[in-house]
Subunit: 350 residues, 3 copies
């Protein structure tokens, strides 16, 4: 868990570490990051979105991170840099270090004797660790997790309370799994047998690369025969469903409530907006951006932004519009007829 | 948990408590509520939706709650009132009281010695309570919950099995969290650092007011810097995602599968239909109703009902319609051309 | 859990069990199933989708399952059958048997003395079993599950780690519940009481028939007064929400991220695509197929396929289309006007 920050840094320290130009007193001490609106003495705030420029005048922050275009907009001590949001992220990471857990296995945890757990790892209360599990250095498994037989987890990983990892799955270094995440459950593999569904054994695994983060209550199914693969640096928000045999390319970010159906491959460096839905067996190229609530029904081989969302309206206006939607086909016909008739009229003109 | 009702009440008791006009024997005993269709002897049913009026004739209920418009539609003993559904809700609450749990901490729970737990509170088997947690009187934490360091929970709250609350979050009095709910996980805060994602520490909290109910497997993220706030009386159904820094106003109800993206503020007394999706950084006024499966992409400053759902159709009809959707822009052009040409023809008319 | 296969079978064994025509050596030994692409020596692959026919030439599988139309497309030993996917499913089930768990109750489980647990059943570490629970023969409850008072579970069921079943619910034989599934939480029953929400006790149960499978993090609410019923053979994928009083007919399959609102009844042998949303109080006939991401707002009384999904487009194309959607009503008017004017012109033609 992120613990309250303790150490302070001077503005001079920050610029020495992260670059940028300092305007103001290098000995000024910074304790924490804050929004322009809520910052108080000892806080450093940031301006990345011009929409919040008006808050710059009123802020009580001790210092501000901003870009060159805004350098003259405040008298406060400030760090002028190229990417204020990224700079802020680095400062916040410095001020809010992840504290190491106490190494060791809690007395109430149930750990199979065949598990190989690094001495510096931490296994929380009431967690279960199965047969032949491997857990790397400094990895922290919180309370009430269940790690199935044969699972391998790298170094410096963090599993929050209540995570479940099914047997034989593999998690890389620095992986973060939030509470309620389920990795490696059976995919939805069924064959129709005269009206009844025959379950197909799901014998693949789920493999998560280094630096993958998985949000709360997100589910990643194991492969049917091959593996489900989440490549390094992928970030998944909460409430996402990743079906069997999906592959998500490195450094792709997926917002909450997204569903990705079976065997679809998503490229690297993509972004997928909240509640987007991608059907199965597609190939999505690298550097594709999918908009919020968009349904993707075909493969995409070009980078770009893709959208299908329906604009909302006040309900009565929407009702009129929705009625017309049902008549689009008739309309097409009526427009064609009009064109023919007008052609005729024009031809007959005196 | 709601236990089977034991105590019975007479119709006279009910009218004495909740008002309404009694038509029939005040000494008639009522044991339970039921639907008109399934009620048997000892049950009181209700008619709130005129659609079910036909069931009134056939019901085997001992008595019925209804409104004045339906008073003559049955010979059964009946309570005539203004809002039959609300009256029924009160009667059901009376007949199905929530029974208190046995106070005390189960021997298998893992409780940090610094936690302050009211004597009348109940901590279930195999739950974990972190450092400096405060738990109020009569609050009940069920089996297998994990409560992070510094969490404060009010009086008369109920956490069902398997709930996780991350460190430093605050839950008010009478809060109900259903199984699988996760409160206070990290928000999806990332800065792009040359193609890789840098995680931004999430140092705010999640704050739930009094009388908030949270459905099964719903997730409410902690704030990035400020807090995520769910005001008093808000009701969240299952499978909902509430992102970081969201504020939901008092007495708003949100149906299942909804997603609310970061920093959006929703007013008081709103209703949000199932699977609606609201993007980030918006302001939604009080008394706004958002329809099922609607995508909200702009702030709304007027009360009213807002909709974006696409009407469904038989698949072949839909295919025709979907094709036309792609040509809307051409059509607009063709209609304009037709108008110009007809203007010309009319001008040239003899 | 599905364990690595150990036993091998000859092609002759397979055909003797499952029928089909064998072309090739009946003594050839098969160890495992695999995709055409990844198969190696000892594997049997299958061709069910003509799209993958090109992989047939290159596969390193020892044998292939295929249909008559593809019998001449390979020289490999092969089983020719009517439904290659179903045949493959049977072979995979044979090669990947579900191994029985060690019977007995783990020492760390917390089991109420009134629970009746079959001797051949297995209760995993750190699970809680409530009062008067009944658990049938060979049923396996994994680590960290919570089974509420009065729950009845049949024979040969499997509950993966972290499943919660609320009090008094009923699970049939061979039911499978994946991790994070929550069965029997309160439905979203609220009455508006002058702007505040009054919770309505949820006194029904959730009943799951034989052979029901429930995916990870899926939620099935208990009934408000009557029961929520999932009939035999229903398969639910991950992240699904089934609200109170829903009934899902036998052998219906529901893909991930679907929401089904309260009191809706769905027929038998239906399929519901991922992220579809079905509003409350509807009746859906047997043999209905609902497409991915479709919103169903009215009852459906005819078998068939129903769709409402909005086609996606490159973002700039979509913007043009979305603007026009708002003007559909004006357009209808303009087309009508054009028709009137052209009628007039035609009438006046010399």
């Amino acid at each position: 868990m992120t613990e309250p920050a303790g150490t302070t840094y001077t503005l001079g320290d920050l610029v020495a570490r992260f670059g940028g130009e300092l305007v103001g007193d290098p000995t000024l001490e910074i304790r924490q990051v804050a929004t322009l609106e809520r910052a108080t003495r000892g806080d450093i705030a940031f301006l990345a979105n011009p929409k919040y420029r008006s808050q710059l005048k009123a802020t009580r922050a001790s210092a501000v991170i901003l870009e060159a275009s805004a350098r003259a907009d405040t008298e406060l001590p400030r760090i002028v840099c190229d990417h204020a949001y990224l700079y802020f992220a680095r400062v916040s990471t410095l001020l809010n270090p992840v504290l190491p857990a106490m190494p060791g296995v809690h007395a109430s945890a149930v750990v199979d004797p065949s598990a190989r757990i690094a001495e510096s790892a931490s296994i929380g209360a009431l967690s279960c660790i199965g047969r032949n599990v491997t857990i790397g250095p400094r990895t922290r498994i919180d309370e009430g997790c269940a790690i199935g037989d044969g699972v391998r987890i790298g170094a410096d990983a963090r599993l929050y309370p209540g995570v479940v990892v099914y047997h034989d799955c593999v998690l890389g270094d620095r992986v973060i799994l939030h509470s309620g995440a389920v990795v490696g459950a059976d995919g939805f593999g069924l064959a129709n047998d005269g009206g009844r569904w025959l379950k197909i054994p799901q014998i693949g695994r789920a493999i998560l690369g280094n630096d993958v983060e998985v949000g709360a209550n997100t589910t990643i199914d194991r492969g049917a025969m091959d593996d489900t693969v989440i490549e390094e640096g992928v970030k998944l928000d909460n409430q996402i469903q990743v079906a069997h045999n999906v592959r998500i390319g490195a450094h792709t970010a997926v917002a909450g409530c997204v569903g990705i159906a079976g065997s679809t491959r998503i490229g690297k460096h993509c972004t997928i907006g909240g509640a987007a839905m991608i059907i199965g067996h597609l190939d999505i190229a690298d550097h594709v951006n999918i908009s919020v609530a968009t349904l993707i029904t075909k493969s995409i081989d070009q980078p770009g932004t893709y959208t299908s969302a329906m604009p909302f309206a006040e309900h009565r206006a929407w009702l009129k519009q929705a009625v017309q939607l049902r008549h689009l086909d008739q309309w097409a016909h009526r427009i064609e007829q009009l064109e023919k008739r007008i052609n005729e009229l024009e031809r007959n003109q005196p």
